[in-house]
């Protein structure tokens, strides 16, 4: 991106109320999905009907914000209709862009809705200039959401090599595996992000109490154990505690979340166009608080404030949980 250009703050909305909250809290764009397995946050009680989507888009446009519709799972071989319908409905409702990963969805959009902007979902796992150029040339993709495994230096090099915009995650859940290429959830539970839009799905979760404490399981596999009185976390597979080579611990990733607030300036200098906040499963209050803080932080970054000041703006967002800047710093690997 051209230096000094406005960085877009892209915020999550799992419900129409959250969409309105995010817009009012200062989101430049809101991303959301339909209430089915066409999007990668297919959780009960979340997401939008076609009518709610159209209303949400109208509301956002009236308030100067954009809506990006995520249709970012992989169309089912035996019935791709829901994906086609979702794409058609989003385009007809005036969505500012569709976020897609599957070649079938991208192909349908390019053929049937060439006027609608296409963003490549992180679920496509495109991390090289060759892969990104391929999606740009084949389908006219205009922006790529970057996998959460790249360092800031790699992002800068990537932006020098490609013609399309990039969007980087700055806050929320952190996938440690390459998104769109992880079958851990389906291996344990039979349901996965690519097939069903879920990871470590709630119906597979059980908590077993005994004298020592609580065991959190996923389809019968123990993912973590908590002492009596210790708060039990959600058993997301890659954030579990396991044993290998005589060691016990969080072998893949600690139960941390991403906070790259301190990297906003660096990401801007690396040429990133848009900053993304994860959390479509989050409530209105949370989204409002996070979006407000990031709005202030991005504005401060654009006014030339230093990373320390920006970090202090975001200091209140930790919820007591542990945070990491993830792969943006090379030492993460």
């Amino acid at each position: 991106m051209i230096k000094g250009q406005h960085m877009e703050l892209v915020c999550p909305a799992g419900t129409p109320a959250t969409l309105r909250a995010a817009v009012q809290a200062g989101a430049d764009a809101v991303y959301c999905g339909f209430r089915d397995e066409t999007n990668a946050r297919n959780f009960p009680g979340l997401n939008f009907s076609p009518k709610e989507m159209a209303e949400g888009i109208r509301f956002a446009h009236d308030h100067g914000s954009k809506v990006l519709v995520a249709i970012n799972t992989f169309a089912r071989a035996e019935n791709p209709d829901p994906w086609r319908k979702a794409a058609d409905s989003a385009a007809a409702s005036g969505a500012d862009a569709i976020i897609a990963a599957d070649i079938a969805v991208l192909d349908h959009m390019a053929a049937s809705h060439p006027q609608t902007r296409l963003h490549l979902s992180v679920q496509a796992g495109a991390a090289t200039p060759e892969a990104i150029d391929f999606y740009a040339e084949a389908f006219g993709v205009r922006r790529v959401v970057l996998p959460r495994v790249l360092s800031v230096q790699e992002i800068a090099a990537l932006n020098r090599a490609i013609a399309v915009e990039t969007e980087a995650f700055v806050f929320g859940g952190l996938c440690v595996m390459m998104e769109g290429r992880c079958h851990l959830s389906s291996y344990a539970t039979g349901r996965s992000p690519n097939l069903n839009g879920v990871c470590s799905p709630p119906e597979a979760v059980s908590y077993v109490e005994d004298a020592a404490g609580t065991t959190a399981r996923l389809s019968g596999f123990t993912i973590d154990r908590y002492d009596r009185g210790e708060a039990a976390g959600y058993p997301t597979l890659c954030k579990g505690r396991f044993k290998a080579g005589g060691k016990t611990g969080y072998l893949f990733e600690d139960p941390v979340s991403l906070n790259a607030g301190s990297m906003i300036v660096a990401l801007r200098e690396a040429g990133v166009t848009a900053l993304k906040i994860e959390g479509r499963q989050r409530g209105k209050g949370y989204v409002t608080q996070v979006v407000r803080a990031f709005r202030e932080a991005v504005d401060a970054a654009e006014q030339g404030h230093d990373p320390g000041e920006i970090d202090s703006i975001l200091a209140g967002l930790s919820e007591g949980g542990r945070q990491t800047t993830g792969a943006y710093r090379k030492t993460w690997r």
Partner: protein
């Protein structure tokens, strides 16, 4: 009845050059497989060790009548890794693509779309076929019914299933072998070499669950999909992929050969496989549309 072919997939592990040499020479001489994949798929840092051994082994395998496929990296990042993909894509032999990065360099020439490329439906399969895909081995989490549906929509490609071996479940930018040993990926000391079948990851109550192999996460259990020849034909599956481990892979290939020729019942073939000192129990849940970890033929 059309013949079901056997493919030996690429070695996912960091085997020293000597082990690779011994392994492929024996495959060339003894294994009843039609096609053999060679090349580093998991970690570009291992390539300087294995690259020097490939030319001799390719020649040896081809002399023995095997069709050699050059497999490429599944998660390239560095300039050197990207260049290696481009170079391999220029080869006259069949090339296996494991990341979209390789598609532009190979468009118009025949390739295998490996299990790391997201082909979940007929449209995606046809799209790749138009660019040169000739064999497609879909992602491991798809059931045989799904693969059959894709194959039906895409009659111009051969379909292959990941039939044997620890399942490749995930890739990361982070190296789990390095992390376990308190090292960073950039100075990993190649500790993955100590685990030629991957290192088992147990749950806190000692259930074998996953296995780590550098940046790759696999299943601890061993996929053993054993379709009858008729099932393969019904689903449009013409190849079974066997993924190399340190167990007797020639014997694994013989068991699958007899299965593919209808000389062996799946149940008996499974019993024979179980006797080979495999690194885990047999699973085949994915093939039946269930959790991948479900025990083989528990239906």
């Amino acid at each position: 009845m059309p013949r079901i072919a056997l493919t030996l997939g690429p070695v996912f592990f960091h085997w020293p050059a000597e082990r690779l040499g011994d392994f492929y020479r024996r495959i060339a001489d003894e294994a009843p497989v039609e096609r053999v994949h060679l090349g580093e798929v998991v970690c570009g840092k291992r390539m300087p060790f294995s690259d020097p051994v490939w030319p001799e082994l390719i020649e040896r395998l081809e002399r023995a009548g095997k069709e050699v496929v050059l497999s490429t990296l599944a998660a390239p990042t560095t300039t050197r890794e990207r260049r290696s993909i481009e170079d391999l894509c220029g080869d006259d032999r069949l090339v296996e693509i494991n990341d979209i990065t390789a598609v532009p360099a190979r468009t118009g020439r025949p390739f295998v779309a490996g299990p790391f490329v997201n082909v979940y439906n007929g449209t995606a399969a046809q799209f790749l076929v138009r660019r040169g895909a000739h064999t497609i081995c879909p992602p491991v989490e798809l059931s045989l019914v799904h693969v059959g549906t894709i194959a039906q929509a895409c009659p111009d490609a051969e379909f292959e299933i990941f039939a044997f071996g620890r399942l490749p479940l995930a890739l990361s930018g982070r190296c789990y072998h390095a992390r376990l040993h308190g090292l960073h990926k950039d100075s990993c000391q190649f500790t993955c070499e100590q685990d030629p079948d991957g290192l088992v990851v147990d749950t806190l109550d000692d259930q074998a669950f996953l296995a780590i192999n550098g940046v790759q996460t696999m299943s601890a259990q061993v996929q053993a999909v054993m379709p009858t020849p008729m099932e393969c034909i019904d689903r449009g599956i013409s190849r079974l992929r066997l993924s190399p481990h340190t167990c007797d892979m020639v014997e694994v290939a013989r068991i699958y050969r007899s299965l593919a020729e209808g000389r062996q019942e799946p149940e008996h073939a499974r019993a024979l496989l179980s006797g080979l000192g495999l690194p885990g129990m047999l699973v085949d849940g994915y093939s039946r549309g269930r959790a991948g970890a479900d025990a083989a033929a528990s239906a």
